[in-house]
């Protein structure tokens, strides 16, 4: 099937992301990539758990001193909601409704940016209130590396969505760009799942000492 063929909502295939061979390859390859990413984050989580609260002297702040659940709750809600809005976007993609897909993706990007803003505020807060920095202790290094890797993934995900939106603004959906939108949203879900684990392992477990 030709990648640039024009469709109507009637002729648009049921799974446009997997209709071409290229799309099928990308779909599978990306799932495998996410498998590798899972191991990457597992290694980072293990490192964090081994170094949690490992500080050179008593005057360093520990997890229980710093973390505040209200802030993290807001961040969690923002990111979980953005996952939901990206599902809406994919729903409209599958229904060949380009305008609505765009709208929901823009909302997704907005929520992601808000999350990122809170994260920057949070890091800034720890650095200035608690002198908890990347170089102050092994705990600091492992905390900023784990949460920072996730933050970097958010930045990449946002950049990806924006690039796709800009590139395709005026040309609508076809079988060439449908897999691209789908993969970006898969990536976004993955980031969301990782955050659920960060919320649990870093913040909730941090609150109980």
């Amino acid at each position: 099937m030709d990648a640039e063929q024009k469709f109507t909502s009637r002729t648009w295939p049921e799974s446009p992301e997997k209709t071409t061979l290229e799309g099928k390859n990308k779909f599978l390859g990306f799932w495998l990539f996410l498998g590798g990413e899972t191991v990457l984050f597992a290694s980072l989580f293990a490192t964090y758990l081994a170094l949690k609260d490992k500080v050179p002297s008593d005057d360093h702040a520990l997890a229980i001193d710093m973390f505040e659940l209200p802030l993290v709750f807001i961040m969690t809600m923002l990111l979980l909601t953005s996952s939901l809005t990206s599902v809406y976007a994919m729903y409209h993609m599958k229904n060949y409704n380009f305008q609505k897909m765009k709208t929901w993706l823009i909302i997704t990007v907005g929520l992601g940016l808000a999350f990122l803003g809170f994260e920057i505020y949070e890091f800034n807060h720890y650095v200035h209130e608690y002198h908890h920095t990347f170089t102050s202790s092994a705990f600091g290094s492992s905390f900023y590396t784990l949460v920072g890797f996730h933050g970097a993934h958010v930045v990449v995900g946002l950049g990806w969505f924006l690039l796709l939106l800009i590139r395709n603004t005026n040309r609508g959906l076809n079988l060439y760009n449908a897999p691209k939108f789908f993969l970006a949203s898969l990536y976004w879900h993955f980031i969301d799942v990782v955050w659920v684990f960060i919320f649990t392992v870093v913040y909730l477990m941090g609150m109980v000492g």
């Binding site: 990648a3 640039e4 061979l21 099928k24 390859n25 599978l28 390859g29 495998l32 990539f33 498998g35 590798g36 990413e37 191991v39 990457l40 290694s43 980072l44 293990a46 490192t47 081994a50 170094l51 490992k54 500080v55 050179p56 990347f134 170089t135 202790s137 092994a138 705990f139 600091g140 290094s141 492992s142 590396t145 990806w160 690039l163 796709l164 590139r167 060439y176 691209k180």
Partner: protein, 629 residues
Amino acid sequence: MSTVAQKQGFLAVLWDYLTTVDHKKIAILYLISGGFFFLVGGIEAMIIRIQLAVPDNNFVSAGLYNEILTMHGTTMIFLAAMPLLFAFMNAVVPLQIGARDVAFPFLNSLGFWLFFFGGIFLNLSWFLGGAPDAGWTSYASLSITSEGHGIDFYVLGLQISGAGTLIAGINFLVTIINMRAPGMTYMRMPLFTWSTFVASALILFAFPPLTVGLFLMLFDRMFGANFFDVSMGGNTIIWEHLFWIFGHPEVYILILPAFGIFSEIFATFSRKRLFGYAAMVFATVLIGFLGFMVWAHHMFTVGLGPTANAIFAVATMAIAVPTGVKIFNWMLTMWGGSIVFTTPMLYAVAFIPSFTAGGVTGVMLASAAADYQYHDTYFVVAHFHYVIVGGVVLGLLAGTHFYWPKMFGTMLNEFLGKITFWLFLIGFHATFFVQHFLGLMGMPRRIWKFLDGQGLNLFNLISTIGAVFMAVAVLVLVYNIIITQIKNVRVGNDPWGDGRTLEWAIASPPPFYNFKQLPLVRGLDPYWIEKMEGNTKMTPAEPVGDIHMPNNSFIPFVMSLGLFIAAFGAMYQVDWRASDGESFVWAIPVLIIGLLITLGSMAVRSLKDDHGYHIHKEDLLKDDEGGRE
């Protein structure tokens, strides 16, 4: 992008290879650069053996010796063995499954260039202030205090080439899952394809821990983090765990494809189908699975406790079972076959006892209590050289002879090939067999010099003489390759006469689109089946039609170059900060420019549509009449 063959100038050929996305050309790139690094690693090995030839020798200084032994291990594993295996995987696997290319031709090229620039970066350390010197395992307790930039070269170089390897692994997985020809079910896939499949899965799950370990080391050494600094709450054992969670599967990533190559060779030159095909597949998968369960056997003496040591010891010994299954299946493949002792077959036959010896010492080392005695002695050096040289390198040499005609359309000289084989086999056993005893006599691993009068003189000398044999063997091979390519005697599609799998059904080298019509696979060893029914060609599964091909691209090269440039910036910003901004002011700008080149070329790749092109049916038919280039 013309399909018309023409004489090309050197620059045109160079440009073609810099931009190619054809798996067969990428295979050649992997073969050449892997071969180059193999020679570099071999020279380093020779220097080690010369230094240890006689007691109290001063051929190289202690510091330089540490750098050479580190670079020997690092180069051989990451820059020689893996790329050479990727060369054969790229050359053969798409053909074996009846595909026109890999699933992601662009990523295939990107994977190669990342490996290439990572390898070059690592080796530039020789010219820029000294190579890494903490051993190929680069344990953190040693490496974070290593002075100069040696370890930085190790970290950044492996990070770049490791990304390339991960990409290659995903690519092969998707290729094998999605691109098989009609009728090529999983249980009809040749063993080399199966072992590539399992090795790729291992790459996918084993490389991310290395990535993380290297990042932690990078942050510690270059950005002031404290992961491994005990005085700041850090823990150096984290590096050991991350490294070996990668490092142990890594040895299976190396050996499984070699097993695959041998399986093809045994079946071909015994003129029998592989004995116990299903058991072989099962054993391959099982080895891959167990390979992830045993990393702590490298850390028995760390003090993880008797329970952990016992679990990892038993898991390690369990791997001997599927490996034993394979050994017996290879022998039973030969049983009753009409065997032809070609050069590849000689390697295959010699591989069985050599590798088994390495396996036996492996089981000895797996016994945690005894390991306290063997740990960090030459016994370990003997063991892993028996499995890696006796398994992987023999596999690579066998594969070079076996697949050379398919890759280049010429046949390596069999007489010279057999000379190489005998020299190499004798040299290999002379070098490493005695090292078992050196180890049991107490000679520590990685030692710079040993003293006279400790009973170590004779075996060390024998070991060095053996290494000379191996060096001569490799030189004969290089000579063989050169004269073969100069003579340039072309061969047909099935030069060994007994090819069983799909790659032997098409021309050597194959046309750039591989199969004009995708073949119909009717069972295991599909080409053999057709031959037994008197056919000279595969039964096609489709009529002749337009073939979709990917466009060449220079972007992978630029993307990798960007990271290569950025790595210099990341490394020298340490000096910039140490000098309070006085010198190395270019470091941060270079880091940013490098990253922008990479990110920019990624954006270009994303924004610019690339639909590839079609070869038209008429041109394909014309190709038939005029013969191919």
